[in-house]
Symmetry: C2
Subunit: 657 residues, 2 copies
């Protein structure tokens, strides 16, 4: 019988259900399919082909399946490392993505990722990103197989102004690409915490309607699970089940923090899991319960995740890590042995992508997705051969991506003798370097300015730029507190806080200073009834002194502090930090038709006896500011203040000593 290609006399690692290894094996390929897999003697007796390759000394195995990645992020590889997930994501990835992600970006990133993956023996991957149409087209041009998942988020994304737009894009993408020989289109509600129940249900409906996989991130961090429990009274898997998600052909990335019951639930739902060892370690997400998932019979694939968080697309590294971590966390060096590990990266990975019938093993009838490797180099020698499975051990524990020599997908050669046949890498690298240059400039501009860094993480608003103020130290504030109601001032508002401030200062003082303030609102009984967190960025001041008062001109931006102090510390990387806390009584008053704030502050940290009186006003107008400054002395007199010591230091300066 006639085949197109026969690869003979190789060590054939079939990764069939029994993980059969054929020491002198052969594979016959016809069109896009595997016609036969067996011993060389059998295959050469039954088949002839115009192209019979003598693969002596080589290993032939199914192409590796990268079960979860974001391929366009090759262009963001190494952009920012050694950061917390939130700083990395909110401080770097998302601002850069907002600025740069386009169909061109996605195509270029996908092509480069395909080059890296083909070289490293990957023939199939599951992607999740924006403009997935561009990713799919790039994948087809490179000749690879992929599940391409169009992301849906509750907030505006680089490719959609609203989630309704994302859903419409996903529907259009799936309709257009369904049935493609290489591409399985799919929908990706990003994660439970970045979507809504409505989005999850709509995505499930879409996936069911078109019978395509649904790709998402689940139970990635302990925080996610804690938040889900707090908000919904249950952990992540039961909650997404309630939103119907498990009714779809699910590919769930991460599943780091799930319990036995959740593993069972996922198994019953026929879910596939993508385990991403490098990335879970690098961002300290934790150790996924892989051996338990495997014991339950869940198909667990191995994924590289995006190259911005890994920082590569190297399945050999992931395999080794998957095995190593399983051994170390269970305390059992026999856990996740080489054969089971390679199964995760091939057969089980394909099952996790719901492509188990199509790829993932060398078995007659499946698509011809295979790779050749040369394991006769120094780092893979010597070869012990008393058990055929030793070839798998050599492959998992010693081999590298660079040992892959040839790659075939769907019956087509994508690489021969380490030469890529479908991609010309040089112009891609140049285009990537150009993106990197532009991103560096964008970030340097931003990092050159505290303000643009503040803006990058959202919500900053500019306040009035002129500030009139007077500040006095009082031995005893009681006389003023007593005088205030009788001062003739119209009191518009009164509040009582405890304020906990952290000032970040920077080596370049022209950048200004950032204050993180926690305002505890205190009621008449001294109980805290509300808390407010704010960031204030104040630029350096131009100052003009008046008798007893000063007029400052400076930029001032205020933003709600929605993240933790720790986040801001890591994001802004201040050179110095100082803390101030005080008890503040604050009145908003009207005096001679102008509004002023009066603060009576008792310093708690640094502890200073007595109190400070501050009178302040802000305005957009210089003339207005000058007029107010001139009125301050009169206002002070109406409060009965005499002989108090004017203070020129602001509170941050007091804290710095």
């Amino acid at each position: 019988m006639q085949a197109d290609w026969i690869l003979a006399h190789a060590t054939v690692i079939t990764m069939d259900a029994a993980s059969t290894v054929l020491p002198d094996g052969a594979v016959a390929v016809q069109g896009d399919r595997l016609l036969a897999v067996g011993t060389s003697a059998e295959v050469l007796r039954q088949y002839t082909a115009p192209n019979v390759l003598d693969c002596s000394g080589r290993v032939v195995l199914p192409g590796l399946v990268n079960a979860h990645t974001h391929v366009p992020m090759t262009l963001l590889r190494g952009l920012a490392d050694d950061l917390r997930l939130d700083v990395w994501l909110l401080g770097y990835m998302m601002p850069v993505e907002r600025e740069f992600v386009s169909p061109d970006f996605c195509r270029l990133g996908a092509l480069l990722a395909c080059a890296e993956m083909i070289r490293g023996g990957i023939t199939c991957f599951a992607d999740m990103y924006y403009y997935e149409e561009a990713v799919a087209q790039a994948t087809v041009d490179a000749g690879m197989r992929a599940v391409c998942s169009q992301t849906v988020l509750k907030f505006p994304s680089p490719d959609a102004a609203s989630y309704e737009d994302s859903l419409a894009m996903a529907r259009e993408f799936i309709s257009a690409w369904r049935g493609h020989p290489l591409i399985t289109p799919s929908v990706a509600p990003h994660a439970p915490y970045t979507t809504t129940p409505e989005i999850l249900r709509a995505c499930t409906q879409l996936a069911i309607e078109f019978d395509v996989p649904l790709h998402t991130h689940l139970a990635e961090t302990a925080q996610e699970v804690d938040d889900c429990r707090a908000a919904n009274g249950m952990p992540v898997i039961p909650w997404v089940k309630k939103q119907s998600l498990l009714e779809a052909k699910l590919l769930a990335a991460h599943c780091v923090h799930i319990d036995e019951g959740e593993i069972h639930t996922l198994k019953r739902a026929n879910a596939g899991i993508a385990h991403n060892p490098s990335r879970n370690l690098k961002l300290a997400s934790g150790f996924a319960p892989v051996t338990q998932m495997l014991a339950e019979g869940l198909p667990v694939g191995v994924g590289t995740d995006g190259p911005a968080s890994n920082n590569d697309l190297d399945m050999f590294e992931e395999m080794r890590l998957a095995s190593f971590i399983a051994k170390a966390t269970t305390g059992n060096p026999t856990a996740l042995p080489a054969t089971q590990t390679l199964a995760m990266a091939t057969r089980m990975g394909a099952q996790a992508l719901h492509l188990g019938d199509v790829t993932g093993s060398l078995e007659a009838g499946k698509r011809a997705d295979l790779i050749l490797m040369d394991l006769r180099d120094v780092h893979t020698s010597p070869a012990f051969n008393r058990e055929p499975e030793a070839a798998i051990s050599r492959l998992v524990y010693s081999a590298r991506a660079t040992d892959v020599t040839d790659v075939m997908v769907n019956g087509r050669w994508l690489m021969r003798e380490r030469k890529l046949l479908t991609l010309d890498v040089e112009p891609l690298l140049q285009a990537a370097a150009d993106y990197a240059r532009r991103i560096d400039i964008f970030l340097m501009g931003r990092e050159g300015s505290l303000h643009s860094r503040l803006v990058a993480i959202g919500g900053a608003e500019q306040e009035e730029s002129y500030e009139v103020q007077i500040k006095l130290h009082l031995e005893d504030p009681e006389p003023i507190l007593t005088a205030l109601p009788y001062s003739g001032l119209e009191i518009l508002r009164h509040a009582h806080y405890r304020e906990y401030d952290t000032y970040f200062s920077f080596s370049d003082p022209s950048q200004g200073r950032l204050r993180h303030r926690e305002d505890e609102f205190v009621d008449d009984e001294g109980q805290v009834y509300s808390v407010r967190y704010r960031l204030t960025l104040t630029g350096p001041a131009a100052e003009r002194r008046f008798p007893n008062s000063a007029l400052l001109s400076r930029s001032r931006f205020i933003a709600p502090a929605t993240h933790s102090l720790r986040f801001y510390r890591e994001y802004f990387k201040p050179e110095k930090e100082s803390e101030v806390s005080k008890d503040r009584q604050r009145w908003k008053v009207r005096f001679e038709d102008e509004e002023f704030f009066i603060n009576i502050d008792r310093m708690l940290k640094p502890s200073i006896p007595g109190a400070f009186l501050e009178i302040k006003s802000r305005t957009w107008s210089r003339r207005d500011a000058e007029e107010k400054a001139l009125k301050l002395s009169a206002l002070l007199q109406s409060l009965g203040v005499r002989d108090a010591r004017p203070v020129e230091q602001d509170y941050a300066e007091m804290a710095e000593g």
Copy 2:
């Protein structure tokens, strides 16, 4: 001023104390030393050289320091994987080492390891093995720098019949090699649990006498610490301190299970630590407290450990893992950032080897140990350059051993443009393949025979090969127990046990059957006063039946079971296992001038009512056995046994059902 080499226009990662990165840097080399390191402008202004290399686009950095390995074990790479430490060590490594390790083996393994290490950018390593003289000579021939440590063990080793011989060899080796420009000779008491206090003290004396490092394994597993606590009432570090070990220039490998106090003790002793991430994970030893050690100021290097347990000599993999594990185990993705990680693999590694003045960073005056890398490939692109340190991040998180292009040690080029200059790899690979073939044959021979596998782990002795026996089932054993004292039999000994047996059986019944027996000796009050563990291997029996009795001829080996049942299960890999437990009263008696054993066994598992009476005798002589068989009926009558049912099954068969 004149230099021999100037490497200009590179990204120079100096790894000096400030980890300075020079985006357009240069290095001048004269003889074996670094003459200058600075910006290209500075260096080219001050120095001239016959060889000025334009290294544009390349990265120049100090050669990597592999802080702990066993280089000859390249020849055992992939010999046995996915096993427990004890099975791996006692069942495979040590038997093969006993058989194969020779000066030739060590030289070949070391040369291959040097080839792999040079290719992967390693310029210096700390080795510990046998015939260290051969390792040192191979290292010099390859042109590398190394601390070479002669192993001392309490038991006979491949290169010494006694530890006195090892110590003498170590002394001779150190005397001969001290002061060598590339080799630092050293002594290696293998570990606390494989040596004695006397050995530890003698090694310390030797190291101090010659002012050389002392290299050892400490606190590698939780078991080691538990055993040390049980035996010595303290954990490992205080105990070895008591044996004077910390007075030497210590290089301690592993230190996985040490506490804060022990870290402090090591710091005070100026010890160097070798952290071996892959190997600690692969053999499930645990997670070393690396961030705590670094916080305390201990110089922690990174090691590959031997390639038989890793399974490669790839410091890029180790660096990445070291950082990943630190992040994951502390839950802090900012832990062990790229720069600190690279420091561990360079400057700190050299300090750990007590070679901090010699190598580990690019600083004028140090030896010229440096490497060039090309980080412009697909998997290391794009390059973000807004911070010079991004080059380090790219190197640690994306680069591979195969990105190293050039290697210089002590001012001599060992590799240029990926071509090895001091080693011809092909004949080495062939010689390694030859060793692998012989080792495979040795292990197949052993694995073909249960007996040789039993012998391989020590202590098996052959017992008499003829066995006469009778076995009856009794409804009630009481009449016999009552009759025994009056039977006219001379009772030589009586004992009472509870016996817990596990039978391993194998697909090939000609291999025989292995029994693991736990004998609990029970006193008159029914209290266990002693326990004995034994292995018994019995071959298949040739059988001849007599009235009421049988004569068996079979091989029988007995060995003390010094390891756990779990160990033997993993080592022998039985096809089937069955358990038997029973209460046994056993008498040794004399009857008509022949000795017999009488057992009264009550079966606990499987639970069988009544009891079994066994009468047995063993002898080396067939004629003797036949005579004894004929006397059994008479002996039975003297016990007053009548109408009891003879039983042909042995206990293992009963358990198997």
